[in-house]
């Protein structure tokens, strides 16, 4: 193992590398879910969207690399993943807004449907190697190969980081951001303002699913960089918890994604220096952390501060 040469320094380096790699899907999916939940609906189906995005990105990248070259092919894959996400988002957005239809149940049905489609069409792409997204080598200053490989940054990570201030500004300072918040906080007030609740929610869910689809692309085209049927491993569902953890604020989504990515890297990092007896319990760290934070910050007297008012209410 490379980390042996570094000894215990391998642990923080491993955590840093794991954070940079592992937080990308969390960041993109949580930003998508943040936008969705701000409009007052939950989309648990982003787990299926993540799988669909991963599969379609990988397939398109593989199939088109002979025609347009590997770099363009991988970006084409990213775009396809986003569009596939939008397709699933449109189904969720329409169905979850029908009267008496529960958005949690639709989300779970969408996990099965999206995951089923991804596995169905992804079967032929499990073996071949698709061209990966080019990465930015931020560790070029170091002569240590471990540092260099740890600091391979995905362009999708930078994209996600760039979206954070944009989305924050969108919610705070734009007319459309106000529409989304109005629909999410008080649908009656939004209706009085003459806003179409249906279309604002639809747009939020579809845009959020676009981001989640791109998050899927980062799974199959950056890290772990392959397409398998279990690649999403619950990260889409975790991102839902993460948004609550982040109190529906884009900036906090960024910090929470880094924290979750880092927490996920704890197990492998400790394993690399020979501590592997608590590997699985370390893997549970992000979930326990979220649970503890919810316990500390919630109170029976009031709902979570920052929670969109219409979230979880039937209409």
């Amino acid at each position: 193992m490379a980390t042996e040469a570094l000894g215990w320094w391998g642990v923080p380096l491993g955590i840093l590398a794991g954070t940079l790699r592992g937080s990308v899907p969390f960041l993109l999916v949580s930003l998508g879910e943040c936008l969705t939940e701000k409009s007052g609906k939950i989309n648990l189906g982003l787990e299926g969207t993540l799988l669909m995005g991963a599969m379609s990105a990988y397939a398109v990248s593989y199939l088109s690399s002979g025609i347009v070259g590997p770099t363009l092919a991988s970006w084409l894959g990213v775009l396809t993943a986003g569009i596939a996400g939008m397709g699933l988002g449109a189904i969720h957005g329409w169905l979850a807004q029908q009267p008496r239809v529960n958005d949690v149940a639709v989300g779970i049905a969408m996990i099965i449907f999206g995951g089923g489609l991804a596995n169905f069409f992804g079967k032929p792409f499990i073996q071949p190697q698709a061209p990966q997204l080019p990465t930015l080598a931020a560790g070029g200053w170091s002569s240590l190969s471990q540092v260099q490989s740890a600091l391979q940054i995905s362009p999708l990570f930078l994209l996600g980081v760039a979206i954070v201030p944009l989305m924050s500004w969108f919610f705070k300072s734009t007319r459309w951001g106000l529409y989304v918040r109005a629909v999410g906080d008080s649908p009656d007030a939004a209706l009085a303002m003459g806003i179409s609740i249906f279309w604002v929610r639809m747009a939020s869910i579809v845009a959020g699913s676009f981001l989640a689809g791109i998050g899927g692309a980062s799974l199959s085209l950056f890290y772990p960089g392959v397409w398998t049927e279990r690649i999403s491993s619950g990260q889409g569902l975790m991102a839902v918890a993460l948004v609550i953890f982040a109190r529906w604020q884009p900036w906090q989504c960024l910090w929470a994604s880094l924290l979750f990515g880092g927490a996920q890297a704890l197990g492998p990092a400790f394993q690399s220096v020979g501590i592997d007896s608590y590997y699985y319990l370390f893997n549970a760290a992000p979930y326990i952390l979220t649970l503890l934070i919810m316990i500390v910050t919630c109170s029976p007297k009031r709902t979570l501060t920052g929670a969109p008012g219409a979230l979880g209410q039937s209409d």
Binding site: M110, I112, G115, K123, Y280, I288, P300
Partner: protein
């Protein structure tokens, strides 16, 4: 006229889901045609693999029995207005408790007693697991959907940790697993079938849940609290105790499903127990509109769909994920049909024509 009215009204909750399943079949047929398979042949295969023969029925019932139990984990709290999705976690914890009890008591007690102890262990463990979500909801206002979802992952991590470490059987190499429980404590099959006793557990639990929720004061109180918490408090109902009790019963059903999986199918504990029966149970509950008797029917339907996975691959060269697609389409259609209640004149008081109009919707 009055009798016609009730007749039409009670037809609606049967006809709408059936119409939804038919629509799903049509959509799935289009999907099959698009990917180059003959839809009619695929339907025939699914029917044959699910309900075509006694052997097919046994396959279906085998898959339906854990679903009946895990569905109750969502259906019971739903009556209280809680959306619990911790079925998978409660199932895993129930399986874990069953293995711990089975391994501890296996050598010293007769098989029947060990089975009883395993069942009790799984009921208590699964129940307490969901009580955590209910208590957090009641005392801290933590959203029960999210907390029960998180608890799933904690349960799976705990199970993986134990079968990797303290419980691991070094002689079993294919994947990290616990030691095997003694053959005397295996859950046997119903006479002359391949279907294990878990089916009876599922049926009994569903009937008991129905009686409890529809025919007792407890169930009435729970439904009242689910309808309007403030009114229930004013009426003096112990909302907190009701929440905890219902969550305990819900979790214990899913926990029992874990015990059945361990004692009848896996015989030891490993990652195979995480087999998405929990998540499928959530859907079963919603599709059955949280009615414990309807969950039995929906479980059998879903069990049939799951049982047809192999044959689609063998005789139509379709990937095994095809049944996932079909399952997804069926549930999306049935969920959509929720919004159609009251929209069809056929089911209203006025005299209408045949029920054929439903299918078109």
């Amino acid at each position: 006229m009055a009798s016609t009215t009730t007749w039409r009204r009670s037809l609606e909750p049967v006809a709408l889901p059936m119409g939804a399943v038919l629509s799903a079949l049509v959509i799935f047929g289009v999907f099959c045609a698009l990917v180059g398979a003959n839809p009619l042949a695929v339907y025939a295969s699914i029917y044959r693999a699910a309900f075509g023969s006694w052997s097919a029925w046994q396959n279906t019932l085998l898959r339906a029995s854990p679903l009946m139990l895990t569905a109750l984990c969502t259906a019971l709290p739903a009556r209280l207005g809680l959306v619990i999705i911790g079925n998978e976690g409660a199932l895993v914890i129930g399986g874990l408790a069953a293995v711990l009890v089975g391994l501890a008591l296996g050598p010293s007690l007769p098989g029947g007693l060990v089975l009883l102890a395993m069942a009790l262990g799984s009921l208590v463990a699964g129940g307490l697991w969901i009580v955590v979500a209910g208590a957090l909801r009641h005392y801290r206002g933590v959203n029960e959907t999210i907390s029960s979802l998180l608890l799933n992952y904690v349960a799976i991590a705990l199970m993986n940790h134990l079968v990797q470490g303290p419980l691991r059987d070094p002689a079993f190499v294919s994947k990290p697993s616990s030691f095997e429980i003694a053959p005397a404590a295996w859950l046997g099959n119903l006479p002359d079938t391949r279907v294990h006793w878990g089916l009876i557990y599922g049926l009994v639990a569903s009937v008991l849940a129905y009686i409890l929720m529809q025919r007792t004061t407890f169930g009435f109180a729970a439904r009242t609290a689910g309808g309007n918490v403030r009114a229930a408090r004013i009426a003096g109902l112990p909302v907190g105790k009701l929440t905890l009790a219902v969550c305990f019963l819900a979790g214990s059903c899913a926990g029992l499903a874990g015990m059945v999986e361990v004692a009848a199918v896996q015989k030891r504990l490993n990652e195979s127990i995480v087999s998405s029966y929990g998540y499928a149970g959530i859907l079963v509950a919603f599709v059955a509109r949280h009615n414990p008797l309807a969950t039995v029917l929906v479980s059998v339907l879903l069990g049939g769909i799951l049982a047809s996975g192999g044959i689609l691959q063998r005789s139509h060269n379709l990937p095994d994920a095809t049944v996932m697609v079909f399952q997804g389409i069926v549930f999306l259609c049935v969920l959509y049909s929720e919004s159609l209640y009251g929209r069809f004149k056929v089911f209203q008081e006025r005299e209408g024509q045949a029920e054929g109009a439903v299918v078109a919707g």
